[in-house]
C-alpha cells in the first residue's frame, strides 16, 4: 500500500490554511496537531491519552514508530490544498492527511486521498456533503455537520425565541452555505417557524449593507446568517450596525442567529455577538474529563484555550493513531476497518445504522464513528455570545448540550443521499 513506513518513523501530513483569511484557524489546528504528535510520542503530559477510552496508544509513537509530521498550506483553495496534499504523499511519504478549514477543501482533498490510497481525517468541515454525497471510504469526519446544527438549534430557538417566528436567511452562495441553509430551514420549520426569504450573498462580498437593509421591512423577526469566517464577521457586524438588535418586529424583539460559530469568528465580531445564538462542535468550557485534559495540555503549552477546530484536529490525530495501533497495520484498509469498529453502538438510539466504533474521553462524551458514512455522532453544543466576557477567549457560553439522539439522522437521509462510500483504497 501507498507509503508504507519502513523506517523507524511514520509521517503524517497536516494540511491547514496558513495564508489567506483562515490562516489563524489553520494555525490553531496546527498547534493541536503538534500537541497530538507530542502526546503520541510520549512527551508532554499525555493529554487525552489518559482519558481516551481506547487504551491502545501508549506514548511510544504509532506501532512503535516515532511520529513525524509535515505541514502544508491549503490556502483555502481546493487546487492548492490538493497540490499540497499531493506533495506530502509523493514527496514526504505521508501515510495520512488531515486538516483543512472549509468543506470545499475537505471534499477535494478527501477525493484525492481516496485516489492516492491514504487516509484522510477531515479537519473543520461542516457541509453535509463531506459525509453525504461526497463521502469516501478513505475519509473520516469528526466534526459535526449542518444537519446537526439545525437539529440542535431548532429546539433551543423555539424555547428561547418562541415558536411563532419568521426567519430571513442570508446565505453564502456556495455549497456549504446552501446545505446549512437547507438544514436550518428544515429544522426551524419543523418547530413552527416560517421562512420569509432566503437571499444568497456573493462569497467575495465584504459589505453586506444592501442585503441587510431590507430585512427589517420584510416581515421577518429573526435573521439567520448562514455565513462563515470573514463573511460572518462582516455580515453580523453590519447587521448590528443597522441596529437590528434594538428593533422590534411583529411585536417581538428582533433576533439574529448564527448557526455555525467559531471562537475566532466570535473574536473578530467583538461585542456584536453578545446574546446571539449559534452552535459549535465543542467548547473548552465543557467539564468532561477529556475536555479538561486537552484544555490543560493545550493551555499550558500555548497560554490560551483551544478552539473547536483545534479540538477536532487533535481528536482526529489521536483517533487515527489509535486505529492503526488497534489494526496493527498502517494499511489504509486495515485502518478503515478499525475506525469502522466492531459494530458497537451508542445507547439510546434505536437504529440499524447505529453501528461503528464507539469511544469516549476525547471531549463531547461518548461518540460513535458511524461505519455507514464515516461521520462522528456526539453531543452538539448550542452556544450564545457572552454578555460580559472576562477575557478575549471567554466569548461564548454553552446554552445547551444537545444529546446525540436529537441530532441523529439516517445515512440515507435526503440531505445526505447520493454518494457512496465505495471501497477502501490502499493505493499502490
Amino acid at each position: 500500500f501507498t507509503n508504507n513506513p519502513t523506517g523507524s518513523s511514520v509521517t503524517l501530513g497536516f494540511n491547514v490554511p496558513q495564508t489567506g483569511p483562515y490562516a489563524d484557524e489553520g494555525l490553531d489546528e496546527l498547534r493541536a496537531y503538534e500537541l497530538a504528535v507530542e502526546h503520541l510520542n510520549g512527551k508532554g503530559d499525555g493529554g487525552c491519552l489518559n482519558t481516551f477510552s481506547s487504551k491502545a496508544l501508549d506514548g511510544t509513537g504509532i506501532l512503535g514508530k516515532e511520529v513525524k509530521f509535515v505541514t502544508g498550506d491549503t490556502q483555502t483553495k481546493s487546487d492548492a490544498a490538493r497540490a499540497s496534499a499531493k506533495s506530502m504523499i509523493e514527496k514526504d511519504g505521508a501515510i495520512m492527511i488531515t486538516g483543512g478549514s472549509s468543506s470545499g477543501v475537505a471534499v477535494a482533498v478527501q477525493g484525492l486521498c481516496q485516489e492516492a490510497g491514504v487516509i484522510f481525517m477531515a479537519g473543520l468541515t461542516h457541509s453535509n456533503d463531506t459525509t453525504g454525497k461526497d463521502k469516501k471510504a478513505n475519509g473520516f469526519r469528526h466534526f459535526f455537520d449542518a444537519y446537526m446544527s439545525g437539529a440542535a438549534l431548532a429546539p433551543v430557538l423555539e424555547k428561547v425565541l418562541g415558536a411563532d417566528r419568521k426567519a430571513y436567511h442570508l446565505t453564502a452562495d456556495y455549497t456549504w452555505g446552501w446545505t446549512q441553509q437547507e438544514s436550518i430551514q428544515a429544522a426551524t420549520e419543523a418547530v413552527g417557524w416560517e421562512t420569509v426569504n432566503n437571499v444568497l450573498t456573493p462569497l467575495a462580498q465584504t459589505d453586506f449593507s444592501s442585503y441587510i437593509a431590507p430585512v427589517l421591512n420584510s416581515g421577518a423577526d429573526v435573521l439567520v446568517l448562514n455565513h462563515y469566517g470573514g463573511n460572518m464577521v462582516n455580515s453580523l457586524t453590519n447587521a448590528v450596525q443597522f441596529g437590528l438588535r434594538d428593533k422590534m418586529a411583529n411585536g417581538k424583539q428582533f433576533e439574529i442567529v448564527v448557526p455555525l460559530y467559531s471562537e475566532l469568528m466570535a473574536k473578530g465580531a467583538g461585542a456584536n455577538i453578545q446574546g446571539i445564538l449559534g452552535s459549535t462542535n465543542w467548547s473548552w468550557t465543557l467539564q468532561d474529563e477529556g475536555t479538561k485534559a486537552f484544555v490543560k495540555s493545550f493551555g499550558t503549552k500555548y497560554g490560551f484555550p483551544p478552539s473547536n477546530a483545534a479540538q477536532t484536529c487533535y481528536a482526529q490525530a489521536l483517533l487515527y493513531a489509535d486505529a492503526v495501533q488497534r489494526a496493527g497495520s498502517f494499511n489504509p484498509c486495515a485502518v478503515v476497518e478499525a475506525l469502522e469498529g466492531d459494530s458497537s453502538s451508542l445507547p439510546g438510539i434505536d437504529s440499524p445504522s447505529n453501528s461503528g466504533f464507539v469511544f469516549d474521553g476525547l471531549g463531547n462524551g461518548p461518540t460513535l464513528y458511524r461505519s455507514a458514512d464515516h461521520q462522528c455522532f456526539k453531543d452538539v453544543l448550542v452556544m450564545r455570545g457572552k454578555e460580559n466576557p472576562t477575557n478575549e477567549y471567554d466569548l461564548l457560553e454553552v446554552v445547551e448540550i444537545t444529546p446525540t439522539a436529537q441530532v441523529w439522522y439516517e445515512p440515507d437521509h435526503p440531505m445526505f443521499a447520493g454518494g457512496q462510500l465505495g471501497e477502501c483504497n490502499p493505493g499502490a
Binding site: V199, P202, D207, N238, A269, V295
Partner: protein, 343 residues
Amino acid sequence: MDAIILQILNGLDKGSAYALIALGLTLIFGTLGVVNFAHGALFMIGAFCAVTLNKILTISYITIDETRTDFLGNPLKVENTYIERWFGPEIGSAIIDWSVPLAILFSIPIMVAIGFIMERGLIKHFYRRDHADQILVTFGLAIVLQEIIKYFYGANPIPTPAPEVFRGSFDFGMLLGFDPNVIIYPYWRLVYFSFSALIIGAVFAFLQFTTFGMVVRAGMADRETVGLLGINIDRRFTIMFGIAAAVAGMAGVMYAPINSPNYHMGMDFLVLSFVVVVVGGMGSLPGAVLAGFLLGILESFASMNEVKTLLPGIDQIIIYLVAIIILLTRPRGLMGRKGVMEE
C-alpha cells in the same frame, strides 16, 4: 419605492467607500501612471492605524484577582488600561471609545511618511519602467506589507467599533413620511459618507485651485521637458504620493468600524478599485468618483431580491458587467483623458 430609496442610500454609502479608495488610486495610477498594486495595502494599513491606536490606548497593566480563576484554574489576571488610570475611568473610556476618529489624526503623518518612503525608496525608480515591472514590484510590496501586518496582528479580523454615539441606526424613512423601520440607516455610515465627501472635496480643491495638478499631469506626460522648464517634478511626485497614501489611509481608518479590519482587506478591494478607476477613465479624478458612486449604487440595486430572482447571480457580476458595457460604449471610460495608458 422605499426599497429603491433604501438601495440608493446604501449605494451612496458603498459608493463613497469605492470613490474614496479610487480617488487615492487615481492620484497614483491615473495621474502618475504607476500601476500601484500596493494601494490596497495602503488602505489596509490605514485601517490598522485605527487598530493600532486602539491597542496603544488600551495598553494595560496587570493586576491579579485572587477571587477569580482563569481557564486553567490559576488566579485571574485582570488588565487595566493606563489611560483609565491617568484620566479617570470616565474620560479614559471616552478616549478609548473615540479611538477611531482620533486615529484619523494619528494616521495622516504615518500614511504620508509611508507614502514618501515608498515613493523615494522604490517607486521613483519605476516611473520610466514598463507597467509590467511596476506591477511586479508593487505587488511584491503589497504582499510584504500585508505579511508584516499579519505577523503582528494575525489573520483574524479585529473588531474596531465606532464611538458609542455613532452606533445603531436612525430612521430615515420616518423623516420622509414612511412607516418606522422601513428605511433605516446606521449613523456611522452617514459619518463615512460625509467624511468621504469632505476628503473628495478637499483633494479636488487642492488640484483644481492650484497649479499642482497641472504640473503633475504635465510631468506625467513628459518628465524631461517639465524638468527643462525648471520644475523639480520629483518633489511634486513625492508629494502626490504622500497625498494619495494619506487619502487611502483615511479611507481605511474610517472603514474599520464598518468591517473589522483584517490583513487581507486590501487585496479584496484592490481589483475593485482598479475597475473603478478605469471605468471612471484614466487620469480623471471626477471620473473615478463618479464611477465609484455609480458602481456602488448599481451593486446595491443588483442585490435587491426582485432583481436577483429575475437574474440569479447578477449581484456577483454586476460590477464587471457594468464595467464591460461602459468600456465598450465609451472608449476611455466615463471621463478618461486621451493618451493616458492606452498603449
